[in-house]
């Protein structure tokens, strides 16, 4: 009997502690909610009618709380080859939330999961798990992810659940076609491929080669769009080679590029293999231009400085842009977190949080349906420029074309949808 006493006491003690913990956290959140309501009432000089309406909302829809707090869930690549994107996203979200909650927009933002991005590992399967774990916390909107292949299955599920999904870097054109609650704040693949072809034409390159990752939606989307638009622009595609996202050896493909006499190589892929491809191309004797999409952003060029001469990529924004929103974002971010993770992904997650606040302002409430209404057709100005959401939930925006100088990314020009240089 004595021996059994110990586990029993332990279990009782643990249960008691657990129950106590639950109770206190519930109390805390209730207290936090009431203080938030009180403070917002004080600062905004709210009338009594507003107060009662918010209490009514409280009673009917516990998720919406006082109607002024937007509950957002975020997921992104925290681990894996593209972890630097997740790092940037996490920092940018923290920054945006701090700014909004200290600001006077009238809305507060709460990131579920304790303010942390849930990891999708850059993989579709893990993304669904991330999505499910976010849904358990009852958010009004979900933000993410940066990759098309990861976002596509999530978009499918979100549209079934009528959940607002604001994709941040998923440029595959099918993402927003999954449902009316799916939006994004980046341009789409065909558009990036088109701009790359247009840029090649302006530079006077005539023979293009393409190497793309066959196991990746993003890479396939850019490749198709590029080939289509290259032909329309009078550029001959002399070689199309496949690879996978896990490959490290590109020597065969790049020697074919040289053998076919191409003067331009398009490699739409993600940053982690970009130095290897550029290195392999230069090793094979290719001295033409190598170009990629926004997946190149954040590429580590250490040790490859010479190889990256004559390389370009299209991007959502350039940190050297002089627009006030960009300058503000870049200087604040650099001060807080340095420049290593200052990439387009960070900028897009940052904009996403602001877009949701804007959507809440437009419709006057923070539940999912109001946010969707507020988001549809909205015009927004942020780090990614000024753009309007079209009927699919895609923005129409210009692309920044970057190049490299001594291994450092340098802004070259901005190409607008009409094809004119700015």
């Amino acid at each position: 009997m004595k021996k059994r006493l110990l586990p029993v006491t332990l279990i009782t003690a643990l249960t008691a502690a657990f129950l106590a913990g639950c109770g206190s956290s519930a109390q805390q959140s209730a207290a936090g909610g009431s203080t938030a309501a009180a403070s917002s009432a004080a600062t905004q000089d709210a009338s009594a009618t507003q107060d009662t309406s918010s209490t009514q909302a409280d009673a009917s829809a516990p998720e919406g709380e006082d109607g002024k707090t937007i509950k957002i869930g975020a997921y992104g690549p925290i681990t894996g080859g593209s972890a630097v994107y997740g790092e940037g996203a996490q920092n940018a979200i923290a920054m945006a939330v701090e700014e909004i909650n200290d600001g006077d927009s009238g809305y507060k933002v709460e990131i579920v999961n304790g303010g942390k991005i849930v990891d999708d590992g850059g993989a579709a399967k893990q993304a669904i798990n991330a999505y499910n774990s976010l849904m358990k916390e009852g958010p009004s909107a979900i933000v993410g992810s940066f990759f098309s292949s990861v976002t596509l299955p999530v978009a499918e599920q979100a549209s079934k659940d009528n959940m607002l999904l604001l994709a941040t870097g998923a440029t595959n054109k099918d993402v927003t076609l999954k449902g009316s609650t799916i939006f994004r704040n980046c341009f789409i693949d065909p558009y990036q491929g088109k701009m790359a072809a247009q840029f090649a034409k302006e530079k006077g390159w005539t023979k293009a080669a393409v190497i793309y990752a066959k196991d990746d939606d993003y890479s396939n989307g850019l490749k198709d769009a590029f080939i289509e638009n290259a032909e329309a622009n009078g550029i001959e595609v002399v070689y199309v080679g496949e690879c996978t996202t896990k490959d490290t050896d590109f020597s065969s493909q790049t020697s074919q590029v040289v053998a076919k006499g191409a003067d331009f190589l398009f490699y739409p892929a993600f940053l982690d293999t970009v130095p290897l491809l550029v290195g392999a191309a230069r090793d094979a004797g290719f001295d033409g231009a190598v170009m990629g999409g926004d997946g190149w952003d954040g590429t580590d060029t250490a040790g490859f400085e010479d190889n990256f001469e004559n390389c370009y990529f299209t991007n959502h924004y350039s940190s050297e842009d002089t627009a006030p929103a960009v300058v503000n974002f870049v200087s604040k971010y650099t001060e807080k977190y340095g420049t290593e993770s200052l990439n387009a992904c960070a900028a897009l997650y940052y904009d996403a949080i602001y877009m949701l606040v804007e959507a809440a302002k437009n419709s006057g409430a923070s539940d999912t349906v109001s946010l969707v209404n507020g988001m549809t057709g909205m015009t927004f100005t942020g780090v990614g420029g000024t753009f309007t959401m079209d009927e699919n939930g895609d923005p129409e925006k210009s692309v920044a074309i970057n190049t490299f100088e001594g291994g450092k990314v340098k802004w070259l020009m901005t190409l607008s949808p009409e094809g004119t240089k700015e």
Binding site: D249, S252, Q253, S255, A259, D272, P275, G303
Partner: protein, 296 residues
């Protein structure tokens, strides 16, 4: 196919093959001596590569050539190899081959995740190891470091062959798999020989890491798993347990991959793995393997 394309691919294939061969040697030596597939072997390359990543800047800072780092990598890899053997493999050696295999898989995952915790999930670029120009041979641009890499591989394989054939410990290494009990009677310290095998196999992995980083200067925590798998295929292809077989298998897998990629880049892995299956169907013991049944 033009001659220049063929020639360039030959060099690329030999380079890739030499790396596979060196890794395959590690698999084959361990298998030959204790009949165990050390799946963590691929991750020893990762450890070697991270050692290079951290020590090359130090070497350059001290005014020494970057490749000196490989000696440090050899020492660290050999130490890790011996440590893994003593801590994880030795205690389960008598528990049967399944336990040993599972332990090896666990060790592989452990090392990969440990590296992720220690060095982060982000890939790192390794600084240039050999700063050599390209030469133009028969109208083909050939980077000299590729030629040098192949050379290093060949020298390492030759040295290993001499070591196994003519030194005392090398003879002991050949004796143990033939008859373990008889070798104990002949005065061979079996445990010491096994530890030595792990040390040499891991040291070769460090050299493979150098060759890998000279061609593909990037380290990630999971780089070893795919390389290890390919090298394992090479070892089986050549005849696992047979040292010249690992060399032949490695070179073959490298050449096949590069040439298949030239024409059907999307197919190269399907074809590489397909070859393994065909070889196993036709000659289960591998190209140079002797068809002797397991001793009961």
């Amino acid at each position: 196919m033009t001659f220049s394309l063929f020639f360039q691919s030959l060099i690329n294939g030999l380079n890739q093959g030499a790396i596979y061969a060196l890794i395959a040697l590690g698999y084959t030596m361990v298998y030959g001596i204790i009949r165990m597939i050390n799946f963590a072997h691929g991750d020893f390359i990762m450890i070697g590569a991270y050692t290079l990543f951290y020590t090359i800047p130090m070497m350059i800072h001290a005014g020494m050539p970057a490749w000196i780092s490989v000696f440090l990598a050899v020492v660290i890899c050999a130490a890790v190899g011996v440590l893994v053997e003593v801590i994880a493999y030795k205690p389960v050696r008598r528990a049967g081959s399944m336990s040993a295999l599972i332990t090896a898989l666990a060790m592989s995952l452990f090392l990969e995740n440990l590296a992720m915790v220690l060095f982060g999930a982000k890939p790192h670029n390794v600084q240039k190891i050999f700063d050599l120009p390209s030469v133009n041979v028969l109208g083909v641009a050939l980077p000299l470091n590729v030629i040098l890499t192949i050379g290093i591989g060949v020298v390492m394989m030759a040295c290993l062959q001499i070591f196994i054939k003519s030194t005392k410990i090398g003879k002991a290494m050949r004796a143990v798999p033939q008859d373990r009990d008889a070798s104990i009677l002949a005065g061979i310290n079996v445990n010491k020989v096994i530890t030595m095998t792990f040390a040499i196999g891991s040291a070769l992995a460090a050299v493979a890491a150098l060759m890998y980083c000279a061609k593909y200067p990037r380290v990630t925590n999971d780089m070893g798993s795919m390389m290890g798998l390919k090298a394992f295929i090479a070892a089986v292809l050549g005849g696992i347990g047979v040292i010249p077989g690992a060399m032949l298998g490695g070179i073959l897998v490298g050449l096949i991959e590069i040439y298949v990629k030239l024409f059907a880049p999307g197919w190269y892995e399907a074809i590489t793995y397909g070859i393994l299956i065909v070889i196993l169907l036709v000659k289960p013991s591998g190209i140079l393997g002797k068809n002797v049944g397991e001793k009961v």
